[in-house]
Amino acid sequence: MTLPDTRGGVLAAEGRLPSERVALVDLLDRLLAGGVVVSGDLVLSIADIDLVRISVRALIMSVRESGLGDDEPFEG
């Protein structure tokens, strides 16, 4: 996993980040803890997946747990 080591301000000044420069962990923060969760006649959703490999499970659980509880979005 590679991460941009440049300061965020510099990256941001270049405009929208190309997808390939987005760190996977930042992306998963959003893809696994954000986005609409739907149900009803689903074949599958990520919640159904029982993750086995430790590294991936740690990665996903660390993100997924943040989607619950006291850090729901709030209007500020």
């Binding site: 965020g8 990256l11 962990v25 959003r30 893809l31 986005g35 009803g40 006649d41 990665l59 850090d71």
Partner: protein
């Protein structure tokens, strides 16, 4: 649609008569298409259930390269369609049995989608992470002298207590600092959300992450927000900005919030 394929859902948007860009492909390299229904459109692609069924995914999800490729493909579709109009992204790996259930979803959650679309229109998400540098407590002067007077065992225990105390203090200070940063940023944003701080193993950094925030900001306030972020770095605290993102963090909409019977 056969029994061997599913419908992978990426995002929902208002039906503005805009159709998917030519040649846009999603997960597994499949072409993205739209399902228009009830003034909304769902962006989807057909996926083979031998790769996107429960059993296959159980195996695939153990593969970090697969997860990386799938997450990036999902993100690419969401970003591409978001260029044309506001969208509500759907959580990674949401697969339906066919187009019928997707249309039912657009009916059933119509008002929720419209509400969230209104919330994100004209706005972008920015990510702000703050890192505190680790306290330099090891190897402090005077330790050898202490060992000489009280013996190595007692000196070790004292040192251990002192280190733990210092670490606790450091954490407390960092938490206060993170809270202050979050408050400043939240005041410059329409909405804010805290993600769990990333483990150093995942962030690839040795510094300790004290803040992993997401901020929904009006498009025309983006420059001002960046300036606020730039002003937050200080000795011992590094602030990193990511984005702009499609507002993933502000489109959380659990089924429980809807009209569950």
């Amino acid at each position: 649609m056969t029994a061997d394929t599913g419908v992978y859902l990426y995002a929902v948007a208002h039906d503005l008569g805009i159709r998917e860009p030519e040649g846009l492909t999603g997960v597994d390299g499949r072409a993205v298409r739209v399902i228009p229904h009830a003034d909304l459109v769902a962006y989807v692609s057909t996926v083979p259930l031998d790769r996107f069924g429960e059993e296959a995914l159980r195996r695939s999800m153990e593969d970090l390269d697969w997860l990386d490729a799938t997450a990036r493909a999902h993100h690419h579709v969401v970003e591409t369609v978001a260029e044309a109009a506001p969208v509500v992204p759907v959580r990674l790996v949401t697969v339906y049995g066919g187009e019928g259930p997707v249309k039912e979803l657009l009916d059933r959650r119509h008002d929720d989608f419209v509400t969230v679309l209104a919330r994100v229109t004209g706005r972008q998400e920015w990510g702000v992470k703050a890192y505190a540098r680790a306290p330099a407590s090891a190897g402090a002067p005077g330790r050898k002298a202490e060992e000489a007077t009280v013996g190595p065992g007692t000196a070790y225990l004292r040192r251990r207590r002192s280190d733990l105390h210092e670490q606790e203090e450091e954490r407390r200070r960092a938490a206060v600092g993170a809270e202050r940063i979050h408050e400043v940023l939240a005041a410059s944003a329409v909405a804010s959300r805290l993600h769990r701080t990333q483990d150093p193993q995942l962030s690839g950094r040795t510094e300790w992450m004290v803040l992993n925030g997401a901020y929904l900001v009006d498009r025309d306030r983006a420059e001002a927000f960046r300036r606020v972020v730039d002003g937050l770095s200080e000795p011992g605290v590094e602030v990193q900005l990511t984005g702009p993102w499609t507002p993933y963090s502000f489109t959380v909409l659990d089924e429980a919030d809807g009209e569950r019977p």
